[in-house]
């Protein structure tokens, strides 16, 4: 709740609605046409990914526990790798592309330990484990837009928007597995990814002027159109 709105006079409205809605309404039976499934007839449906509803809201800002304690900082700062070395679709597609395990394995079949340690890294061993099983690494999404938003990485990257403008200082984000097995600090979200935040750039970002010159105003008008991003 704290992510979406601050208590204002609107809270009264909220409480009123909460009172009206009451408990979960019963599931409608739809006699005679059970072939055509529908979600339970909730007037206020529950938003989860499991029931096929539109996901909305925002992801938490704290770091999620990831299957591998992947340290962006060591790859970027110590090794000097570019983002697009691994996220190779960022310029080509709507997704930046979380690298296939093969990409990790290309290097880590040779690099088995951290530069600052002598023992083989258990985290790198996990890559081998996933790779050999042929299973994808089940990363958790940190930067997750709602399903009704159409976002193209390639448009933003090609326009000259820097990765950090949306993703924050990922180069500084590390990742250490704690003694209890949990992972801390792998990666977290620094920006809100909410519509107002998107529109802020769509209205003022200098790249529009640079790229469109005298047509910049027209492009800005397009960029503010709902159907530029909403689908």
């Amino acid at each position: 709740m704290r992510h979406l709105f601050r208590p204002t006079g609107a809270a009264a409205m909220m409480l009123l609605l909460a009172a009206i809605s009451g408990g979960c309404p019963p599931v409608d039976e739809y006699p005679g046409d059970s072939n055509h499934p529908r979600a339970p007839h909730n007037l206020f449906p529950e938003y989860t990914s499991e029931n096929g509803q539109i996901a909305t809201g925002v992801t938490p800002t704290e770091a999620l526990e990831q299957p591998i304690a992947f340290p962006h900082d060591r790859h970027v700062q110590v090794l000097g790798m570019e983002c697009e070395f691994c996220h190779s679709e960022a310029r080509k597609s709507i997704h930046a592309g979380v690298p296939p395990t093969q990409t990790c394995w290309n290097c880590h079949q040779h690099v088995k330990k951290r530069l600052d340690q002598d023992a083989p890294s258990p985290e790198i061993a996990r890559i081998a484990e996933f790779y050999e099983k042929g299973e994808p690494i089940p990363w958790k999404k940190v930067h997750d837009l709602p399903d009704y938003v159409h976002f193209e990485h390639k448009r933003h990257v090609k326009a000259g928007v820097d990765c950090t403008e949306c993703h924050g200082q990922i180069a500084l984000m590390g990742g250490e597995r704690q003694e209890d097995g949990s992972v801390e600090g792998t990666m977290y979200r620094e920006t809100t990814l909410q519509m107002g935040w998107c529109l802020g750039c769509h209205e003022t970002h200098p790249s529009v002027n640079e790229n469109y010159g005298e047509n910049a105003d027209l492009r800005r008008a397009e960029l503010k159109d709902c159907w530029t991003c909403h689908k």
Binding site: S21, A39, Y47, G57, P100, T101, Y148, K154, H230
Partner: protein, 1068 residues
């Protein structure tokens, strides 16, 4: 609440509701957040795939004569849609069959593993060993292995013929057996002759449904070309000789209501008349000598003058005659096809619109061949029966004895990937990979071959039919014949020698045998054996990328075989009573193969708007005589059985005919088909004509009313209520018989109303709202009513592209269907012959993307608004569901989600990731496929091009891409050179409800009809002389009535009259 602005109010609304749900559902976490989703990368990314970007695989859908090349749209591991393959020489369209195949591919009823008899699941290894054991046992017992499957061509036929030693029967219900048998008799080869409708000025059909897939979807495209008046063309005239107008027949300019059973006699009489008029003395003259116009007229109920008129038209112009299809398959089915072929020969059209050079030469077996197989099964000479994806237990009349005969075969294997009535008879079911998962090839004709390649990895680990057969043949120790029998292979005498000598090569199955490890290798080996150039691998991969191999092939001559039998041309449907049963193939469900696809059930029937049901089409006069009303439940009875169906009034059927569609009434075909409607086959008995073609039209029918049916239709009106929604342009001024083509200016007359916005702009009128500024694009669409045949491909394609939910019969009855395009059907009549619908029109109606949209001004939350590109946008997550917009839409284009519909797995895999699924309480409507516009604009920006060129836009929407007749065009109305802008300036252009000043972005082009009285008015902008005539009209509100005919045009509404006068002055 003071200071609470609108935005905060809405925010509070959203938060409040979700919070209350969380609390009510006892979720502990009081926070409101997006569930944490996973992102699963590839382990090893395939080179062709870019996550988030579609990859297109050229492949082919449909088999045998119905094969068509398409592009399968692959996205993130699965096929999500089917697109047009515009590189190919075939029409760049999406057959509805391809879309139904796509939904079938993801059907929740699809077998997930092989099964034994009784349905017990087993694994592939066990099923395959059972298959090998079955084949081995048959062979060691000296018995035959037989195949019964659908039409097929190319490599799989060679393989199947090898596996079965030539005991393979390729047969489909409602298929082409009569045509193949007729060609065998007349031309000496069992082929399906090629047609070129585009070159014809007069098209006669004896019932073939060539506008819904008969003879391949290519024919529908050619038909539209023949009918196209856009480029100053000659509008071909289409005559139907049949007792029933199906969706194809409803497009006819002339309808000759032939009595069932007399089609062959009429065709033969026409052939004789044509031969006489042409002075034809060739070898076919002897064959048609028995033609007797007087007897044919008596038997058919047509006048002798009608038969003479058909012959006269055929003689006077380039013509083509199409046979009867299943609708003409009486007990003289083969004779009808022979007579039709002979008309084309004696009229001199062989080599122009008709010929064997582009004939389909794959195996086409008849019911006679199936019957021989049934007899062999009964005699015990079949040791193993392999069943392809064909359903004879459902589609064959019960007295064919198919089911009993199968019971006598020791081993029966079915290779169908979906449950059906026939599978229940099999010992083992091997659900092989389907058309989107397998390799293969098709031979459309001598100069055109299609390739099929997997567009995704098989679901549930299904194996390829070819792979299974190759392995089984090796394991069972089968020996391939040295030279496989080649069914109906043409030596290509009528065609020029092909560049690379492909089809001159002999059958190559012998040397290939069963050695290739996979069917992919097998297909390659077949192609390699016929390839003479260098670097085969590269050539083959180029062909794979294209999806086809093509060299120009002439339509070829049609030489009459020396032994061709003369036609007798007499047959009648016997039986008690005076009413005939007419059973016709349904444009969507065909012979029932797509009955379990929800899209095929929920897309309204093109002619009646019916969903999820069977019905009987009854002429209104018959109904009046019998005292029936719509929705009465009739029991239809023949000697073979009975069914119960509801009555639908239908002017396009003879008064003594009751018409019922095939394809419903399944017992074991899956959750969507079972128990829906009735199977008309249960009224038929296994009667064949003297050549062995099954007679689908064979019975008279008795009936009695037994109750009330619950038919549900989406068509609200049989006419446009004189609101000029589908006006008529006069084709006769354009295309008179005998006129030189060059004499036609290409402009149609008879349209009295130009788009109102054009007239407003011409006179610089100031609009209350002002015209919205469209600096770059104004997306617009034109729909050519003259080309639209009502096939429904646009509607189905929209379901596939835009994640439209299927709601079921009960919800459609409540008016809650979700289709974004409906195709309105308007019956139209000749003034001289009331009751004879020959001027029918189909009007695809979708959101008109109005510039002055009535919906926008009533939305309280600005969820719908006009975009800078001229779209009427709908922002789903802003919509609060007041439904004011739908109430205010004059086009009824908006659809409301009364529920949150869910897609049973794995249907959800087909969902387009570029389109969100909508939830309960949200309004939705056609978006002009904004997701495609967005990604195309983005793709051009990638190349540094800011404005998308017209050719990339013309068929960008799913409906325009699918349309088999290219009736729908799309483009930028701001660009004066774009195709749509030019269309809007056509003399046929009009907008629906232009008088409401909605300034819609959809322009229609009026249908050209031969049934208008000569109209003195040209173009638009007249009106002065009719301006005050409204008093005579009984509907003063209505606008000009194109089909009233007496020019008693009502007074235009105030602003119409006001605007018209200056426009008139400007025109002259």
């Amino acid at each position: 609440m003071a200071g609470l602005n609108r935005r905060d109010f809405l925010k509070a609304l959203g938060i409040g509701s979700s919070a209350s749900v969380m609390a009510a559902c006892r979720l502990d976490d009081n926070r409101y957040y997006t569930p944490i989703e996973q992102v699963l990368p590839y382990v090893v990314k395939p080179e062709q795939i870019t996550p988030g970007t579609p990859t297109f695989f050229a492949t082919s859908v449909g088999t045998g004569p119905n094969a068509h090349t398409v592009l399968a749209r692959h996205r993130d591991g699965r096929v999500i849609n089917v697109g047009a393959n515009r590189r190919s020489p075939m029409a760049g369209i999406v057959p509805t069959d391809a879309l139904f195949e796509l939904q079938r591919h993801f059907s929740p009823d699809r077998y997930q593993a092989p099964a034994k008899k009784g349905g017990e699941a087993t694994d592939w290894d066990a099923a395959r060993s059972e298959l090998v054991a079955g084949i081995k046992a048959a062979k060691s017992g000296g018995k035959k292995v037989a195949w019964l499957g659908p039409y097929a061509s190319g490599s799989i036929v060679k393989l199947l013929d090898d596996v079965t030693d030539g005991n393979a029967v390729y047969w489909e219900p409602l298929g082409y057996e009569a045509d193949a048998l007729a060609a065998e008799k007349v031309f000496g080869k069992r082929v399906l002759p090629g047609y070129d409708l585009a070159k014809a000025k007069y098209i006669v059909s004896f019932g073939a449904d060539f506008l819904s897939g008969w003879g391949g979807w290519e024919l529908a495209n050619q038909y539209a070309k023949a009918k196209d008046p856009n480029e100053g063309g000659f509008v071909a005239r289409f005559a139907l000789v049949s007792p029933y107008q199906d969706q194809t027949g409803a497009n006819a300019d002339d309808w000759y209501q032939c009595k069932p059973g007399a089609q062959a006699q009429v065709a033969l009489a026409v052939a004789k008349l044509v031969a006489a008029k042409k002075g034809y003395n060739g070898p076919a003259a002897r064959l048609v000598a028995a033609g007797d116009p007087a007897a044919a007229a008596a038997a058919s109920g047509l006048g002798e003058g009608d038969i003479d008129a058909i012959a006269a038209q055929i003689v006077s112009r380039d013509s083509v005659v199409l046979p009867g299809g299943a609708s003409g398959a009486t007990t003289a089915a083969t004779e009808l096809a022979m007579a039709c072929f002979l008309i084309n020969v004696v009229s001199g059209m062989a080599g122009k619109t008709f010929g064997l050079g582009t004939a389909y030469t794959g195996p086409v077996h008849s019911y006679g061949d199936v019957k021989a197989l049934i007899d062999a099964m009964n005699a015990g000479s079949i040791g193993a029966l392999l069943l392809g994806d064909v359903n004879p237990a459902y589609a064959l009349p019960a007295d064919s004895g198919f089911a009993e005969a199968v019971g006598k075969v020791p081993f029966v294997a079915s290779f169908s990937s979906h449950p059906d009535e026939t599978n229940a008879l099999a010992n083992v079911i091997l659900p092989v990979a389907d058309v989107f998962e397998d390799w293969g090839d098709e031979e459309v004709h001598a100069g055109l071959r299609l390739l099929r390649q997997p567009a995704q990895s098989p679901m549930y680990g299904a194996l390829s039919l070819g792979d299974v057969l190759l392995a089984a043949a090796r394991d069972a120790g089968l020996q391939a014949a040295a030279a496989a029998p080649v069914e109906g292979e043409v030596e290509g005498e009528a065609t020029e020698a092909p560049a690379e000598g492909e089809e001159a090569a002999p059958a190559v199955a012998g040397p290939i045998g069963f050695t290739p490890a996979t069917f992919r290798e097998y297909v390659k080996a077949v192609w390699k054996a016929e390839y003479s150039g260098a670097n085969f691998d590269q050539w083959f991969s180029e062909r794979l990328a294209d999806g086809f191999m093509h060299h120009d092939t002439a339509i070829g001559a049609a030489p009459i075989s020396a032994g061709a039998p003369a036609l007798a041309g007499t047959a009648a449907i016997e039986g008690e009573g005076e009413y005939f049963l007419h059973a016709y193939p349904h444009p969507f469900r065909k012979d029932g193969r797509f009955a379990n696809q929800p899209w095929a059930q929920e897309t309204p029937d093109p002619m009646t708007g019916m969903v999820w049901d069977s019905w009987v089409c009854v002429n209104p006069k018959t109904a009046e005589r019998m005292g029936w009303s719509r929705n009465d439940l009739l029991e239809l009875k023949t000697a073979a059985g009975s069914i119960q169906v509801g009555v639908e009034f239908y002017p396009g059927v003879r008064e003594d005919v009751l018409a019922v569609a095939f394809g419903q009434g399944h017992a074991a075909n899956g959750r969507y088909a079972n128990g829906v409607g009735a199977n008309v086959v249960s009224l038929l008995s296994a009667k064949a004509d003297s050549f062995g073609a099954l007679a689908w039209q064979q019975a008279k029918v008795a009936f009695n009313k037994v109750g009330t049916a619950e038919l549900v239709t989406t068509i609200g009106s049989d006419t446009d209520q004189m609101r000029m929604m589908a006006p008529i342009a006069d084709a006769d001024t354009l295309a008179k018989v005998g006129d030189a083509e060059s004499a036609h200016p290409g402009e149609m007359t008879g349209i009295h109303h130009l788009p109102l916005d054009a007239r407003l702009h011409e006179r610089g009128a100031v609009d209350f709202y002002g015209m919205t500024d469209h600096p770059t694009y104004r997306w617009g669409m034109t729909v050519d009513i003259n080309a639209c045949t009502g096939c429904g491909a646009c509607s189905v394609a929209c379901y596939a592209e835009n994640n439209l939910p299927v709601v079921g019969k009960a919800k459609v009855r409540d008016g809650r269907e979700m289709g974004w395009i409906r195709v309105n059907r308007y019956w139209g009549y000749d003034e001289a012959k009331p009751g004879l619908p020959v001027e029918n029109r189909f009007l695809p109606m979708m959101c008109q993307q109005c510039a002055h949209a009535p919906c926008e001004s009533v939305c309280p939350v600005l969820a719908t608004y006009h975009t800078i590109d001229g779209l009427n946008a709908m922002v789903y997550n802003r919509c609060v569901g007041t439904r004011y917009c739908a109430n205010n839409c004059p086009y009824i284009a908006r659809r409301f989600n009364y529920h949150s519909y869910v897609w049973p797995e794995p249907f959800n895999l087909q969902l387009n990731p570029d389109v969100v699924t909508r939830t309960m309480g949200v309004m939705e409507k056609c978006t002009f496929c904004v997701q495609r516009l967005r990604s195309t604009k983005s793709a051009y920006r990638d190349q540094g091009i800011d404005r998308v060129p017209d050719e990339a836009l013309e068929q960008i929407t799913a409906c325009a891409e699918a349309c088999p007749t290219d009736a729908i065009s799309f483009g930028n109305l701001v660009d004066p050179e774009s195709g749509v802008t030019k269309h809007t300036k056509s003399g046929r252009a009009y907008q629906v409800f232009a008088e409401l000043n909605t300034m819609s972005a959809v322009t229609y082009l009026a249908k050209a009809s031969y049934h208008r009285a000569e109209d003195p008015h040209h173009g638009g902008g007249h009106g002065e002389e009719h301006g005050e005539a409204g008093g005579e009209h009984h509907e003063p509100e209505a606008h000009g009535d194109a089909h009233g005919g007496e020019h008693a045009e009502p007074a235009p509404k105030a602003e119409g009259a006001h605007h018209e006068e200056p426009a008139h002055g400007a025109d002259h």
